[in-house]
Symmetry: C2
Subunit: 594 residues, 2 copies
Amino acid sequence: MTYRAPIADMLLSLNHGAGFLAAVEAGHYNDYDAGFTAAVIEQASRFAGDVLDPLNRIGDQAGVKFSDGHVTCAPGWPDAYARWREDGWNAVSAPEDFGGQGLPLAVHAVCNEIWSAANVAFGLCPLLTSGAIEAVAAHGSDDLKKLFLPKLVSGEWTGTMQLTEPQAGSDVGALRTRAEKQADGSYRLHGSKIFITYGEQDLTPNIVHLVLARLPDAPAGTKGITLFLVPKFLVNADGSLGARNDIFASGIEHKLGMHASPTCTMSIGDKEGAVGYLIGEENNGMACMFTMMNQARLNVGIEGVGVADRAFQRALDYAQERRQGRAVGRKGDGSDPIIMHPDVKRNLMLMRGMTAAARSICYATAVAIDISHRAGDEKIRAKAHARAALLTPLAKAFSTDIANEVAAIGAQVHGGMGFIEEAGAAQYIRDARILTIYEGTNGIQAIDLVMRKLGADKGAAMNELLEELSAIAAKVEASNDPAFGSTGAILREVVNAAGRTGKWLLEKIGTAPNDALAGATPYLRLLSAATGGCLIASEALAARGDEMFQNDVARYIALARFFAENIAVQASSLERSVIDGADAINHADIVLAH
Amino acid sequence: MTYRAPIADMLLSLNHGAGFLAAVEAGHYNDYDAGFTAAVIEQASRFAGDVLDPLNRIGDQAGVKFSDGHVTCAPGWPDAYARWREDGWNAVSAPEDFGGQGLPLAVHAVCNEIWSAANVAFGLCPLLTSGAIEAVAAHGSDDLKKLFLPKLVSGEWTGTMQLTEPQAGSDVGALRTRAEKQADGSYRLHGSKIFITYGEQDLTPNIVHLVLARLPDAPAGTKGITLFLVPKFLVNADGSLGARNDIFASGIEHKLGMHASPTCTMSIGDKEGAVGYLIGEENNGMACMFTMMNQARLNVGIEGVGVADRAFQRALDYAQERRQGRAVGRKGDGSDPIIMHPDVKRNLMLMRGMTAAARSICYATAVAIDISHRAGDEKIRAKAHARAALLTPLAKAFSTDIANEVAAIGAQVHGGMGFIEEAGAAQYIRDARILTIYEGTNGIQAIDLVMRKLGADKGAAMNELLEELSAIAAKVEASNDPAFGSTGAILREVVNAAGRTGKWLLEKIGTAPNDALAGATPYLRLLSAATGGCLIASEALAARGDEMFQNDVARYIALARFFAENIAVQASSLERSVIDGADAINHADIVLAH
């Protein structure tokens, strides 16, 4: 079965759950015509179905080859990338000044979900390029922008992000790659990096590496890190390629999944030193990274939504076709499609519900990032920035956690075929596994949420979110629509639980930080269930008032109800895990030391 | 790091949580000396560490090769199997009459955990042989027993179980392989089977296939199924091998995991028909299968415990070695082992706690099966049989669900290395995935629990289990030991929730069966959390009174407490999913039909 984007679901989520329509109406997107979104999604869906989806399993099977510093991507990859560039997909939300289309990030987020659903190993490459574009656009000198941005925006060159070293993973501040300033103002870099996604490839004639390194006598830790642009080939003033720079892939990893995405070990400056150009200021590399962080983390969350949706589509398809046993009340010989069995329905609804909630959290994050960049009013921008910062760990961690859960359920729905690679369900399990790890592990997201975001600005953004969610719960209750079942009451409980738990954590940060840290992961899940559950319920309510969704109201209500009654109800247990469970974790040494 | 069995944990779980000591003292094991168990476990641990563990990754990487009907196992496999046989591991619990050691199944279960932990793809082969031994011993004619059992018991030959056909997976009754009686009393079989584990191998000179087939004019469905013994090579009266029988592997599957275990498609009787011998009575094959079912399902649960424990060991090892960042309160340069970070502790404790709970449920099931076979008093046997039947779906489904969760957390603890195959954590994710599927999917286990086990004999076994668990919760509360935290109160709540939910389900079976079916999976999880939580709490209590565990009391209490406060607390949410969530599932068609 070919991938097709769930266009109606995406539009409802974006326009209503994520507040995109309201933002357009508020003027944050200038003259953007919200009606245009559907056309973009349709085109993206077609490209994904025609070009990327057919390569997904080919890429998984063939993987990438490494020989003598060169990487050969899977068969069909170079052609697909060329079509991708030609069709303009690389430039969707990139700045118009450098050849981009300047579309909302929120619309780009929908596209990213589509690429990830069809072929997450392919879609990862332009995500890295997006990050490089963002960093250079925000912090690069005019010369660097002029020389590199047009080619990155068009996709003629790709970008990489080089942070990780063997001893510096989550702890970026421990990195050792060093950079020394040269007489001409450029730098020479020496060191090595690991886990560099698309650090080498045969898709484009040049690669623009963004590398974190340390200057001589730089302060220890994250305060002594500087960001450099290190091209694979140096670039002449006229844009033509010059000498090969001293940065090489020295190997690729043999990974559980994402086989078609080369994960490279990089040797930097083994000979004369790799020429690098300063981005931002010296020793200010972490600030440059933070610029990109919300968007990069959101993008990983979006990958999770895409993989989850694709796993769902495949499982749904299988459950509609596969016949085993008789459903209750069905008579006679023969067997029924397994989708008629309630336990299979539960599995499919879990997949569908978790994916929908994650999607809305991600799209809401994208809209917040957009407003933080685009709003005319500085206060609105600042508020949106705080909202984006708060939602980002949810978008990243919840979406990727559920991606793994959804992929696992998808295999389960397939029965024995779920374990057979050719059926395709197993690949999502393998591919999704990295999403909870890279761009900050989900544990780090949870810690970021609790230690930095929860109490930021005296909890202003958090309080506003909780008020927004409470209002949705109240609206559902006020609707008195029996089709919602207990949705309203449950959401009210869940939002209250999130509020209480957040308050408890805030108190602990000062008095017993290990207690706060111990509860971070279940709290992130709790807040995500509250946020996702309310957003999809708000979408169901909004569907009633939007002509486009008139025929779908009942199914959106049924989905919101399922999520509330079967997933969001976990909130009370999660609250107890946080509040009652911390002590047991902080007494764990006696168990784990054994 | 080499695998080592957690001997103390296993002994505590077996002797106290699972009630093995009490059963020995009650005389159900005749003159078995309970002190002997530790020696068996130590030997098994050594064999697993020395022979099986080193082959685990080799087998995963090399996989099995198929060519022209022949299967070549991974390098080292034949030698390891030969050592396995020579050291007598194949015969641990097999009947002494046919060369077995006649040890308790409960002790064999511990060994099976050890094999599964070290190398689950290897351990799977003798599990199949065990099933064949059980079937032939229980239902075979004396001639069949004499001819086949000694070689199966010694491991000179292996066994297979051949149920599945493309159209007959969960729905065994839909199978089409046909058998016709011959003048000499034997049968000729024709058909094909899929997903046959170790259906062909190069480890032994013969393979004893147990094949389900259908006689001409047999009733439709499961009532018309007959079990046959179909040897790969016919066996002469003197035990020597005769002609090659007409049953061949026609291919092997390319699977997500368990790479070293050949999963074969079998062609049966393509030429003259495969010679088969009746086991049990005609059209009574399902009854023969049911004889083996509890033990076979338990064995899969045990595989889950083994894989989970190994994933935990590896993650613990990594977390103790890997340094990243500074833990709260630690000063100065450098970084701390990640095990010092509370979020990592939570992950490790989740792994440890779920594994311990699953282990005790499995061992308790094994003890119940033992008593159901061994007790002198028929009433005690019957009661034990009902208990085993009730616990079996928990043992199978909970243990394998948590195996997947534990394996995923294990990769997460490894950070980026969790995604790299050479680190070893990823293999457990791949291997564990089949465990929730084969031998009856976990959904089917849950349905079995609700529809057959819950109300069996007016709920006698269930009521007894709940009373036993309540008594444990009461004992924990009565202990007044602050080290238990809220364990007692939580376990009381959880057991009550399990009771209420079971009662609700029982009512629904008659009035609204789809509601009961919709809640089966969360109910199984709820009952497992109650059972596992209480069992490990009872172990912590028992450790105090057993000299062997005097120095470990505090850590067993800490573990039981963690489980109660961080895992068992899910009970209230699961209860609500069952009771409040069913309606949403039975209204899911509007969502899923779209």
